[in-house]
Symmetry: C2
Subunit: 205 residues, 2 copies
């Protein structure tokens, strides 16, 4: 079984590899991949060894082959269908960013503020949160991204769950009853910064 930490890094490697491919690079050395992804070369080699060695000594990995392998493991053989709930500053930034990533398809965004309904962020239309349940019945989504205040998160989670969404990322820490079979991931920037502070302090002066 591949460790979760490895899976998490695979998608970072994937992003680096796609950038390398776009620049016309055929081969990627583990040292270069490591440098670009901010991990050690030995860790890159260890991670990639979990699914067979594609590296050629002194030349590195075939970029195309490695991209296809990682995509296969992550299951990204077609775009991941996403709905976004909450179109404030953070929600808008996420919407704009994800629209640049080809293997995500943002189906729609939802907000409680009626002044936003019918407007677009990039190509994505903003709808009323009240429409979320019905929308999902007609437009199945795999993931939901939530960037609303904590108090509203439980209701949104429940609606997403009833609509068949199995994975949710929330930028608001909230005490949630997570339906069994749903994966909820919090992204908390304050926690990430604390962790960074801890690591930075351990560095040599």
């Amino acid at each position: 079984m591949i460790p979760e930490a490895t899976i998490r890094r695979l998608s970072v490697y994937l992003r680096c590899l796609r950038r390398a491919k776009a620049r016309g690079e055929d081969m990627a050395l583990s040292s270069l991949l490591a440098h670009r992804c901010g991990v050690s070369a030995s860790l890159v080699r260890k991670d990639l060894s979990y699914f067979g060695g594609f590296g050629i000594k002194g030349k590195g990995y075939r970029v195309d082959e490695l991209i296809r392998s990682i995509e296969g493991i992550l299951g990204i053989d077609r775009p991941i269908r996403v709905v976004q709930i909450g179109v404030g500053n953070l929600g808008s930034a996420i919407l704009r960013y994800l629209q640049q990533v080809p293997y995500f398809k943002i189906l729609a965004a939802f907000d409680i503020d009626e002044r936003k309904w019918g407007k677009r962020v990039g190509e994505v239309e903003i709808r009323s949160c009240g429409e979320l349940g019905e929308f999902l019945r007609e437009n199945p989504a795999e993931l939901g991204v939530i960037s609303i205040p904590p108090d509203g998160v439980q209701d949104v989670i429940d609606t997403l769950w009833r609509g068949g969404v199995k994975g949710v990322m929330s930028f608001a820490l909230a005490e949630i009853d997570v339906p069994e079979g749903m994966v909820l991931q919090f992204v908390d920037i304050a926690s990430e910064l604390e962790f960074l502070y801890y690591k930075a302090k351990k560095q040599k002066k």
Copy 2:
């Protein structure tokens, strides 16, 4: 030595505990903490066991005691001094959020768009990116948060490093020469979503 994954979760527990304290709760059961943080109760107990057992059987952990212990381990005995570079949608959202967290002190924000200079997001003044180096000489900061396009990241990293900043979080994936002794952490929402998708697919139907 405490594993990094544990340290990372400690700051999530800390956030849950502070919310519990604000609600007037004196004790926190590992099961409740686990539920609120989205991990298993056994993992909470294992994580907390690394720095001695504070739990009381059947009653859980003393909230105050646990908060102080975790703060001690993370080294948050005074506010962490942060500068933010890039005040677009994402940067504004981060600025607003971090100002709500008492143990961060956002010293200033920096942007290249001169129309933003002198304005404020909440209490934080926006300055010219050109002032960053001089600002840091007079106002030492521990962490930098970067939310600008990839092309500009290296210059900002170098300026932060010369200004004594040891830890940087970047929301733009970029190929960076990280100065030795600096910790750079990328937060890439697309990678996080891919990882979530992978985990959600593994769930039972």
